[in-house]
Amino acid sequence: MDSQNTQNTSDSNTTSSGSAYWMSLEQWNGDQALADRFENEFMSSPLSSEDGKDGVARRDFLKIMGASLALATAGCIRRPQAHIIPYAKAPKEITPGEPNYYTSTWFDGTEGAGVLVKTLEGRPIKVEGNPEHPMTLGGLSARAHGEILSLYDPDRLRAPVRNLQNKERTNKESVATTFEEADEKILASLKAGGVALLTGSKPSPSLKAIVSDFSKAFSGARWVQYDSLPVDAIRAGQKASYGRAILPRYRFDKASMVVSIDADFLGTFLSPVEFAKQWAKNRAPGKDMSRLVAFESFLSTTGMNADDRFRIRPSQQLDVVLSLISRVAKLSKGSVVIPGGISAAAKAFENAPKALGFDEVLFDKVASELLQARGSSLVIAGGLPTLTETQVELQVAVNALNSMLGNDGKTIDHDTAVFETMSGSAESLQALIADMAAGSIKTLIIDDLNLNYLLPQDSGFSEALKKVETVVYTGNRNDETGSASQWVLPAGTGLETWGDFELQSGVFSIQQPTIMPMYQTRSLGEVLLAWTAKAANAPQRVKSAATWRDYVMGVWKAEIQGSVELGSGKSFEDFWLQVLQVGVASNKGRRERSGSGRAFVGSISEASLKARPAVGAGYELALYPSVQIGDGKLGNIAWLQELPDPVSKVVWDNYLQVSPAMARKEGLNKGDIVELKVGDVTVKAPVLVQPGVHDSVVALAVGYGQKTAGKVGNGVGVNAYPLSSLAKGKSIFSGRAATVTKTSGRYDLVSTQDHHLMEGRKIVLESTKSAFEKDPSSGIHKHQIFTIWPEHQYTKNKWGLAIDLNSCTGCSACVIACQSENNIPTVGKKYVMQGREMHWIRIDRYYKGSPDNPDVAIMPLTCQHCENAPCETVCPVLATVHNDEGLNDMVYNRCVGTRYCANNCPYKVRRFNWFNYMKKREEPLHMAYNPDVTVRPRGVMEKCTFCVQRIRRGTNKARDEKRDLRDGEITPACAESCPSDAITFGNLNDPKSRVSKMFENKRSYKLLEELNAVPRVAYQVRVRNADRVMEANSHGPADNHDKSHGDDVKKDDKKSHGLLKQDVNEKTGELV
């Protein structure tokens, strides 16, 4: 480059030519520039170039580059301005990135649970079960998980609204208002008297206190409670049988023989998480394994888990119980006596089993088992399907049977921990409606209960509501009831306000706010406190409470501290702190007692039996709440709408369930729209042909067909509430005569699983109790696996997951827990139809046997984290790899999206981001994201990670504390919320860990073991406490294992679904 220099210096350095070796003549000549060049590694240092001298110098170049880059990006959209504001004074408890958990309580009107709310930097992101809560013990239902989306629901009201009403009392215009204005105007009308408060059941000590204060302050304001899913028949039955109206606590943990009469206690009835937890405990295979027999009008979650299942009409529930009573008495040979009040009635039903079309031998077996399990059996009836004309008589009969069997006071706790505060009553609601219609109610406060949607026309509620001068509604939406009210004062969610609950008497749990109210909202307690405080004769405790929190604390100090173990011998401040820490205060000793057997004084007169409407040849209606959205309040939560129904696997809809036989008779197919006429009301609904439904029953879920739920829930399904009836002090949901007329319309019902048979494959393995006792490995077909490769070695941790199919009820809580933990998007009905749902864990459901009353097999399926993972070898870019702890890792950043891994996955558990789902998430729903989990962009594959973020957090914590990991310290979201503890996670390298023991368990098997993918998920064989199953499931322990697979499968084929063939569309595998 610098030839001038070279020449100039060449002469002066000739002396160096004598040195050792030379590489070129220039060097031999002693060329200085060359010598310099040898010194430098780079021919020209970027620093040596002087600006301006050689064309475009480095700095100019950078300048030009920078300018052009700026020009190129100037046209782009600016990022929205955002500010990062540091804490001027950091809150002590907050470490950025570290979650804080707050104890709280979730209650949706019937079901309640103790929860821990996970917050990050003051933002709640997940609801988890509180293991300290004595009812739910850390389990949490799918619906409870949805609470987090209720908080961030974009469609809820953000400020009070005033509805200016027409003369006809319809909404003319909604205008914004403030709480101050509302308080002022409402107080005026409150002072005028004639006040009534209409709420759902409020099992809350503080609310009870404030309501009584409110009532005192405003001339005896009346409090009426009504439940959207009523349980008052049970209370009425208890009163008629024993003299006291209570809702007893059912103790499945004490029951070895459970007979359920249309009570879906594992799915929707009362407290399913608590019940599932207790029930699963007694289901461990072995001598003491409990038995579950279900009498059902349609297939429910409970029916899926039943050992034996009978199909009945809702109107036959009473027949079943009465004939059980007579059979039990007969079989006891005099040792059990039928109570006098019902002996005549029972006598009339001695031969009912035959008339009901039951297998009499099996029915007698149930009766004799009840008899054998005297004192430890449990007969239970309840839920919407039991709310027929004879709902109270049914409860009386159930009580009689339980009393006869000596279960009262043993498996039925009527004494110490009943659902005392569940006091909704149809009777008092009807009285209130009458008063409203008469004009004696001047001011009505309705708490977040959309009664114009919930109540049938014959209740006369919406007409009566128009007669009330001032209606205040605390709903979070300006819905059907809201728009019929003058004032809509949004109550916000339970995650924003203080509160407390006494879900069962003596179990007091606290509800803590976990975030400042996001909008201008006030809970019912706050509203009542504010108004009461302004009344002239406000009670002292109201005056002294500056805030609702103070009031709640006041109630706890005065009423609760003295009655619980936690409260004794400490100051209130200490007690309160401990309550906040634990979340719950109760008495252990008290919960162990159940009372003693009470004298049964109930009676069923023959006259009342005769007065029953005759069971005709027609169809009977059964209404039920869905496992997903319950009474419909959670209708705007996309997670729950996209959660497949545990039984039908249908998403985003309700549907009229009909039996395969009825479908054949009426010429109905899945998706046909029918007109369903009950009384004077006609509803159009799509049909789903559902095995297990009684041939004369049509079942429809309530809670759908909403118009004001929000963008997610509007227009999903049809509203079934108008088909119910509220008359003569009874809410009647089922047993009414229905006519079904097929229309020409068609509708797409979308399910996540369209094929319902196992095709004779060894997928969900089953055994029976007797076979299990002979051979604990019965039902498992072991394969000879041969490989020439050495096994993988895992020297550190070796993670594994065990799923006990015997405990899993299919309740689907894990699905939503996983969705919440792992930022899994919902895709909508259209895309589920195209097979694009994103759930990382799904619950497969198969039918076996006759489609009229099939056996159901359930299997949660998630990534198996195979040691020889077929997905890993085929990825061209190494985006899915195995780590040294045996996790099958998915590297989102590296994924190009060839989807080869998904094709090669035998379990098909991988999910692909077909679109940019995350961008479609509306604000503020994005606040529910878990920052520990990557939000996946379009075009990448994703799947279960065993909650790797939790594994990392756990291992890091153990490392920081310089200790070994404890077993059970790390729990994935699915296992954590499982109500029946069916999922166990842990380290397989630790022989003492629970999961190792589960893997060693004789019942343990790997799914599709013969492929030698070596899954890290072990399933435990499901054991049925019935002998019938073995006949259908040919693969018993006595089976000859030497037979070739082909033969096995053929034999299985015939036995397992020969009966089903006729009802299965050969092409689609769908039931027709």
Binding site: G835, N903, N913, G1046
Partner: protein, 457 residues
């Protein structure tokens, strides 16, 4: 040696000049109305294709019918379809060259052009079928600053990258080398400067000297030798995409030969389709691409069709013989499951219809062979549909089972790809001699006595 005399390969008693004039007529004359009409419609279809691809890349793969459990759909099916089409070209130009089959001369150029264009059309699909096509370069092993992070050499998709890119390169070079003398001819006859310059550049300074010819022959021979294994390897490796997986219906050892036979089958089908059209479009080519040529190719179609049919039968036998219930189910499901129509379309088009070629009059009837070749094309597309979709839609666990959600975009992608192919092919017919002038001339008997004995030379 028998005394059967082969018909002359070029009819019409042509002189060398006649040949040059005939073959270069479409190149040198201004394009006709029919060419324009065809070209414009192909181009519209191509533009339509480009727009749909752009929309898919911008929005997401979800626009297509691919779903859970069917992760691969129209794009992969059509990719394999086009790659298969490509096989006939290489077979004719390379393998038949090595075997000194002189009849190949008149059809080799177009067949090879078809190969190159088919591979181009196919090559688009692996690029756009990924979820994030802008990161496709990660499939190439190149030194990088991510670790460096390499590709997974165990993945058949990666082998695919190598196989297809090698095939595309070699077949393009082979095709181009064959074109050099012809380009020189066009240059020498050029009337305008522009034409002279362009074809001059393309002919790489070809002078037609003995030395040029000597080098040319050697390069051509070497490239023919190089291409020959590719005929077998490319589709073998494409078949590995399926065969190496563990999916019932994919995991089959018969796939490599079966795929190669199918590819040759479909390739010849497409050659017959195109050449019947070329014969209609340029009637002067009828003397070069004679009924004899077509008949030979129809024989190959029938032979490979029988091979493919054998493979279909063999799959069923092995599925039954293996005793593997999943395998048995996969194949029963193919024939009698929800996608039975696809399977029987495939069987009808690929096995039944080509049986017409047992009859000489059908082999030599242009309308019959055109219709049959179209059916072969349809059948071979369905073969890939059957392999890809029907195997995926029902695998091990019945809970996974589902159906392909065919959408408008699948249709657009499938038909649009023909737009791309035809656009390029129309341009080729206009700008490149569709028959090799240099190779056809030596098979004439100009100045020679017609031999009495066929076969030898």
């Amino acid at each position: 040696m028998s005394t059967v005399t082969r018909n002359p390969l070029v009819l019409g008693n042509k002189s060398y000049k006649d040949i040059t004039d005939d073959i270069l007529a479409p190149v040198e004359a201004p394009p006709g109305k029919r060419w324009f009409a065809l070209f414009l419609s192909a181009k519209m279809l191509f533009l339509f294709y480009i727009l749909h691809i752009a929309y898919i890349i911008a929005t997401g793969m979800g626009l297509l019918g691919v779903n859970h459990p069917i992760g691969w759909g129209t794009m992969i099916i059509t990719f394999v379809f086009w790659i298969g089409i490509g096989h006939a070209g290489t077979l004719i130009s390379a393998v038949l060259f090595l075997f000194r089959q002189k009849w190949r001369t008149s059809v080799a150029r177009s067949a090879e052009a078809m190969t190159v264009f088919a591979v181009m059309t196919a090559g688009i699909f692996p690029l756009i079928h990924t979820g994030r096509p802008w990161l496709d370069f990660w499939l190439l092993p190149y030194p990088n600053q991510r670790g460096p992070l390499w590709v997974n050499f165990r993945s058949p998709l990666l082998w695919d990258v190598f196989a297809v890119s090698t095939y595309a390169t070699v077949s393009s070079v082979f095709w181009y080398v064959g074109l050099v003398p012809d380009f020189a001819t066009i240059r020498d006859r050029a009337q305008t400067k522009l034409r002279k310059t362009i074809y001059g550049a393309l002919s790489l300074g070809w002078r037609g000297s003995a030395r040029d010819w000597s080098h040319y022959e050697m390069v051509y021979l070497l490239l023919a030798g190089l291409s020959t294994p590719l005929v077998l390897s490319v589709h073998t490796i494409v078949s590995f995409d399926f065969a190496v997986s563990m999916l019932p219906g994919w995991h089959t050892t018969i796939f490599p030969p079966y795929f190669v036979a199918g590819a040759i089958f479909s390739g010849f089908g497409m050659v017959v389709t195109l050449l019947t059209l070329v014969r209609i479009g340029f009637p002067q080519f009828k003397d070069y691409i004679t009924i004899d040529h077509m008949e030979v190719m129809n024989k190959i179609i029938m032979a490979t069709g029988l091979l493919v049919g054998y493979a279909y039968g063999s799959e069923f036998f092995i599925a039954w013989y293996s005793g593997n219930p999943y395998e048995v189910y996969a194949f029963t499901n193919r024939a009698f499951g929800p996608y039975w129509w696809a399977y029987w379309t495939m069987i009808t088009c690929n096995v039944v219809i080509p049986q017409l070629f047992w009859f000489r009059q059908f082999r030599r009837s242009i309308p019959v062979m055109f219709v049959v070749s179209i059916f072969v094309n349809i059948g071979m597309w369905f073969e890939r549909f059957v392999i890809t979709v029907t195997s995926l839609h029902r695998d091990f666990l019945p809970s996974n089972w589902g159906m392909y959600a065919w959408s408008w975009f699948d249709t657009a992608i499938l038909f649009g790809s023909f737009g791309m192919f035809l656009t390029i092919f129309m341009l080729y017919l206009k700008f490149v001699p569709a028959i090799s002038i240099a190779e056809v001339k030596p098979v004439l008997y100009v100045g020679k006595k017609r031999p009495n004995h066929g076969g030898g030379h």
